[in-house]
Amino acid sequence: MILPVMDFLPSESRRAVNAVRAKRRIALLGVLLLVFTVGVSVHSWNIARKADADRAVGAMLVANAPGVDELMDGLAKEQAILSRALRVTDGLMPAISASSVVATITNMLPDHVTLTGMRIETSDTPKQMMVVLNGVAAANTDLADFEHKLAAASAFRGVTISESKVGEFMGKRVEEFTVSFHVPLCVQVCKPGTMHVAQGGVN
């Protein structure tokens, strides 16, 4: 070089310039570090939150898993009880049905007795079937015969002629009567599928 560089920048100015540059660099690095830290913190916080949520879901699943098992066990038990109850229900049959009662009464009617009305009511307490029969009989003896037949049946209890009076039926003198009795509805357990209707002792 023809002429060496003659630098007139005083050392204090050089120091000041370097200090300013260093300050800028430090400030910039500080800002970058801050931004980086905040970014990493936010990211970590988000990850932590997501992990917490996942952990909570897992914990909930773990906590609820025995409940499900219990529920399943309970359901299985209930199903078993229900099956047993259904099997029991299948075996539960009333001792007699209204149609059987009507059929029995019809079969018991003497020749000169006819029914003009019938009322059947079922009560739960006591569990029985209340039967009230209205009819006409040609003579008292016929009515008495009918009452004896009813009273003789084991299924019919409390056979009572609650009314008997003379009346007219189709231009003839007849005995109008009202007979009442009750049929206890006994429950019997039988093997499901093999139940049969009790015939009220008629047969």
């Binding site: 002429l3 003659m6 630098d7 007139f8 050089r14 310039v17 300013v20 910039l28």
Partner: protein
């Protein structure tokens, strides 16, 4: 973002700010692999007087330009117009470096008649023919000028890493861009509006320096400003410059001739003169120098030193480019290493 990048990354551009007498110039160049200088940024602002702090408006404009160019936070080299320096040559007895520095400082204070606390003094050793003595180039500049330049550059967002005399910086640039400056005896002249600096080199070594004050801007713009008279008592009296002929440069040429006669013998007369500065593209200046001093005169053509999108308009970038070239030299040296 660019600011952060400039601070954190290694700077690849060489940036220089030239506080010239006629303008404030800033240039950023990069050196390509083939050695060409690619100009990234180059802008001129109105001249900033350094005897006082830079105006706020001028500073804002400077800062805006620097920010616009994306140079915030970059390191730069600063050159200051030569007329703000005092320069002289001295011969001292041979002594060691420390003693020489102290003696040079003492000599400069004595010669320039300045207060030691108010000036920044530098010296450069020159070859001396006299045995037992050494030649020195002494330069002094007021600290106020340095501080104002430093503050202005820092306030604009740049970081100054050196401050140099514009003529010396221009010589560095010419040394890089002109072949043969290190061979034989070559005269180099850096012309500024208020001062022309003549430097004489022999085989790559500076032999002589002479600062010639004068209103060279008026001479250069003679057609526009005819009739103005220089009132500075230290300035060289100008020939009548009312005409637009080449003769208006005769005062400068004759003073140059006197300086060369003082320092050069007939056998060691310079073979050519390289001229930098705004008037260097004036053909009449070159013709006058050639006619008076008897040597080929060429312009450094600093506008052509670097390539860019737009060609630089004036030949006034030698100082800035010369200062920037120091960084490019360092970078290429590092690259080679």
């Amino acid at each position: 973002m660019r600011h952060f990048q400039n601070i954190l990354t290694k700077q690849t551009m060489a940036i220089a700010v030239d506080f010239a007498a006629d303008a404030l110039r800033c240039i950023a160049v990069e050196r390509a692999a083939d050695g060409t200088w690619t100009r990234r940024v180059a802008f001129e602002l109105p001249a900033a007087p350094l005897d006082r702090s830079m105006d706020d408006s001028a500073l804002r404009e400077f800062s805006a330009k620097v920010a616009e160019a994306g140079l915030n936070g970059c390191r730069c080299r600063v050159t200051i117009a030569s007329h703000l320096f005092r320069m002289d040559m001295a011969q001292l007895p041979t002594m060691n470096e420390q003693e020489l520095a102290a003696s040079a400082r003492f000599e400069a204070i004595d010669r320039f008649g300045v207060n030691a606390a108010d000036v920044m003094i530098q010296h450069a050793s020159l070859p001396c023919k006299t045995p037992g003595r050494c030649a020195l180039l002494l330069l002094a500049v007021p600290l106020l000028i340095i501080r104002n330049a430093t503050q202005a550059v820092m306030a604009a967002g740049l970081s100054p890493c050196s401050i140099e005399n514009a003529a010396c910086a221009a010589l560095h640039g010419a040394e890089l861009r002109h072949d043969g400056l290190n061979n034989g005896t070559i005269a180099f002249m850096h012309i500024e509006p208020q001062q022309a600096v003549l430097l004489l080199m022999k085989d790559g070594q500076l032999q002589f320096v002479r600062a010639m004050q004068g209103d060279w801007a008026m001479v250069a713009n003679a057609q526009e400003s005819s009739g103005n008279q220089n009132t500075n008592s230290n300035s060289i009296a100008l020939e009548p410059i009312q005409s637009d002929s080449a003769w208006r440069w005769s005062s400068l040429a004759e003073e140059t001739l006197r300086c060369l006669r003082q320092v050069c013998e007939e056998s060691s007369w310079p073979t050519r003169m390289v001229v930098s500065g705004a008037p260097s593209s004036d053909r009449e200046l070159l013709d006058t120098l050639k006619g008076v001093c008897g040597m080929d005169s060429t312009s450094v053509d600093s506008a052509g030193w670097s390539t860019g999108n737009e060609k630089l308009k004036s030949d006034t970038w030698a100082a800035a480019l010369g200062a920037a070239s120091l960084d490019m030299q360092n970078k290429s040296t590092q690259r080679a290493a």
